[in-house]
Amino acid sequence: MEEKIQALFYKLRRIGISFLIYQERNITEQVKKIIPEIQEFVLWFLEGNRFGIEEELYQDMSSNLLHILEDILEALKQNDTVLLYDATANGLLDYLQLFVELEQEEEADDDL
């Protein structure tokens, strides 16, 4: 799963940069293509608290993640690029980064 998360993280980051810096406005089409990967990540996250975090925090995070997914789907429906960027870059990407960073940290730990 980690590899998939990492791949999704970089794809979303690239889409975000192209929107933000290069004014690429057609990001809905790009995000549509990776919707199955996004859904897979969300389902995986919601399957259960296997991350060693407090249950209350996990529940809040799960609920927030569902809001993010809702926003992504709504943005795709409305062709709303601002909401789509916001939900992915300031929402989903934060979640993905947790695992990307975790992985990097773990690698660093292994090196020690």
């Binding site: 929107f19 406005r25 601002v82 909401l83």
Partner: protein
């Protein structure tokens, strides 16, 4: 006082009447504005329009889009025009205005009056307005129709700034206002193209122009003013613009029937074909500085009244012996003479071609129905001009890679970018007139070519049958007019023109003084530690000396001729140097080059003036 009221006051302080326009504007509700608070605590907008709902800011991070946009642009030079569509996410303006140094020119086009009004409620704009030149162009406010946006942008998009311009459509505006977004981008592109074309034309004509001006200025002493025609040409007869497009071949013979029942004005290139058909127009026009006299070299043409400009080909004016009509073109020395005539000032819009000049002239003298003939503005049947203009039989050209535009009779016709500019000019000009003057009718009787908006399309036969119903002897009416200058004013004008060489001597002397000042500046900047006081003092002296030269009325001619050098200077102003020393050296170097050119011009022009005005009597 609410933020909205304060903003109205701020806007009114920068743009008189703006507050009234806003308060009197009629809001036509085409969308719903939903206000929310973002997760980072900012008021943000969501717009519901045509069954679609879109955010204008991020609901989690309201600032990020704008912050990153401004960061990505890097440092902008002073005067850089930033053209933005949309103000619904005001953080774009906030970031731009606050992060950038002073003096940007920010033009904001907002297609929705409702969003603009909401924006005025949300944030205080006073500090930003004081720091930069900010222009709001809002659909729905009086005088700010989107079709007039181009005219305003022309003031902003000067050639020397083209490299620096930033265009931006706020995210989701292209979704919510797709037509307006396309029109905005197209307008920006067209205006930039125009600025480029105007600059290139300026360079080409600059050298030729001053020589022509002096040569033609002699004719001002016995010339006529276009505004004099208002008194003698009846408004209820049609004016006919005879251009030399390829379709003129189809209906040229028909024009015979209009003679004596209309005011027929031909472009220079149409003169020969008309005379060959036995048609003597009531007037013809020459405005081009490079037009060869051969185009009008026909004995019959010599006495036809001529509408012309001071920078038209002098060969043509010398060949022509009849009545010459001039209009105000803004040349300071000529304006002095026009003032002495006592006649109403009156210009003619250029539009870029001789036919557009005639069109504007006819409207300005009060003609209510204008008929266009031979005004193809396209390569009808793949030809550029009518037969008998440049050649007896014009060659067909390969138009496969030409722009295609809507035709009068055909769905699409091929045209070139310069002709497309004339089409755009007609569209804009006629629309503008019709808003003020409901009586104007424009009949396009070209019988081919490109479509011009707001014109009635008919054959020339139909147009003549319908409109040319009243007899009028134009020649007799024109012959009654006295020249614009009475004998006393004429004498003054002759003396004034004879005094022009001395004015150039003054320009020469002023340029020499400036050169000395620039050299001094250069010397100051050689030192390791620049004396800032001395630096500023010399800059002030340069500025003062420049003002003295600029006050000499013929200096304008020097500056026009040097548009190339001037461009270099203007362009340089927009590149801020890293140090005062570097900046000073740069200014001195460019300044010396500039004044040396100015001096050279003044010497040459003094000679021209002596040669052309010396024997005036």
């Amino acid at each position: 006082m609410t933020i909205y009221e304060k903003n109205l006051k701020t806007l009114a302080a920068h743009y008189p009447e703006m507050d009234r326009r806003i308060e009197e504007a009629q809001v036509e509700s085409t969308l719903e504005i939903i206000e929310e608070v973002s997760l980072d605590g900012e008021k943000i907008l969501k717009i519901k329009k045509d069954d679609r709902t879109c955010y204008l800011n991020g609901k989690r991070d309201a600032h990020e889009l704008a912050q990153k946009w401004v960061e990505a642009m890097g440092k902008l030079q002073r005067d850089t025009p930033v053209l933005m569509m949309g103000i619904g996410n005001f953080f774009y303006l906030k970031e731009l205005a606050e992060q950038m140094e002073k003096n940007l020119t920010i033009v904001i086009y907002e297609p929705s009056l409702e969003i603009f009004l909401k924006f005025l409620e949300m944030v205080d704009i006073q500090k930003w307005m004081e720091k930069h030149l900010i222009v709001f162009w809002v659909n729905g406010l009086e005088g700010m129709e989107s079709k007039n946006l181009g005219g305003m942008l022309e003031q902003v998009l000067r050639y020397e700034l083209l490299d620096h311009v930033k265009y931006f459509v706020l995210p989701n505006y292209e979704i919510l206002f797709p037509e307006e977004a396309i029109a905005f981008v197209k307008t920006c592109r067209d205006v930039a193209l125009k600025a480029l074309s105007r600059y290139e034309t300026n360079i080409l004509f600059a050298g030729v122009m001053v020589k022509n001006l002096f040569s033609n200025a002699r004719y001002l002493c016995d010339g006529y003013k276009t505004t004099q025609l208002v008194e003698v040409i009846p408004k209820d007869i049609p004016g006919i613009v005879v251009a030399a497009g390829p379709s003129l071949n189809k209906n040229i013979k028909e024009l015979k029937r209009a003679k004596g029942k209309a005011f027929i004005c031909a472009v220079d290139t149409a003169i020969k074909p008309l005379i060959r058909e036995g048609i003597i127009p009531d007037m013809f026009a020459v405005v081009d500085g490079l037009k060869p006299v051969e185009l009008v070299k026909k004995e019959e043409a010599q006495q036809i009244p001529l509408l012309t400009t001071l920078n038209a080909s002098p060969e043509v004016l010398d060949y022509h012996t009849g009545m010459k009509l001039f209009f105000n073109e803004g040349y300071q020395f000529a304006e002095e003479i026009f003032k002495r005539s006592g006649h109403m000032p009156g210009d003619v819009s250029s539009g870029g071609s001789v036919a557009t000049h005639i069109f504007s002239f006819l409207w300005k003298i009060g003609i209510e129905t204008i008929i266009l003939v031979g005004q193809d503005l396209a390569y009808t049947n793949n030809k550029a001009y009518a037969d008998g203009t440049f050649h007896d039989k014009m060659d067909e050209e390969d138009t496969s890679d030409f722009i295609m535009v809507e035709g009068n009779f055909e769905e699409k016709v091929p045209t070139k970018p310069d002709l497309k500019l004339f089409i755009d000019w007609y569209n804009m000009y006629i629309t503008g007139i019709k808003e003020r003057d409901k009586k104007l009718r424009v009949i396009n009787a070209t019988e081919g070519g490109a479509k011009i908006q707001n014109t009635e399309i008919m054959t020339l036969k139909e147009a003549i049958d319908q409109e040319c119903t009243k007899e009028v002897d134009i020649r007799e009416r024109l012959e009654k007019l006295p020249p614009m200058l009475n004998p006393e004013a004429r004498e003054w004008a002759v003396d004034y023109l004879k005094g022009i060489p001395q004015k150039f001597q003054k320009v020469k002397e002023g340029a020499k003084k400036m050169k000395k000042l620039y050299r001094k500046l250069d010397k100051i900047c050689d030192k390791k530690n620049i004396d800032k006081k001395e630096y500023l003092s010399i800059m002030k002296k340069i500025e003062k000396q420049l003002k003295i030269i600029e006050a000499i009325d013929v200096y304008q001619l020097v500056s026009i001729t040097m548009s190339n050098a001037h461009y270099m200077l203007l362009g340089e102003q927009h590149v801020q140097q890293q140090s005062l020393q570097k900046e000073g050296k740069e200014i001195a170097e460019m300044g010396i080059a500039y004044v040396e050119d100015a001096e050279r011009c003044a010497v040459v022009f003094e000679e021209y003036a002596e040669e052309l005005f010396g024997n005036l009597s």
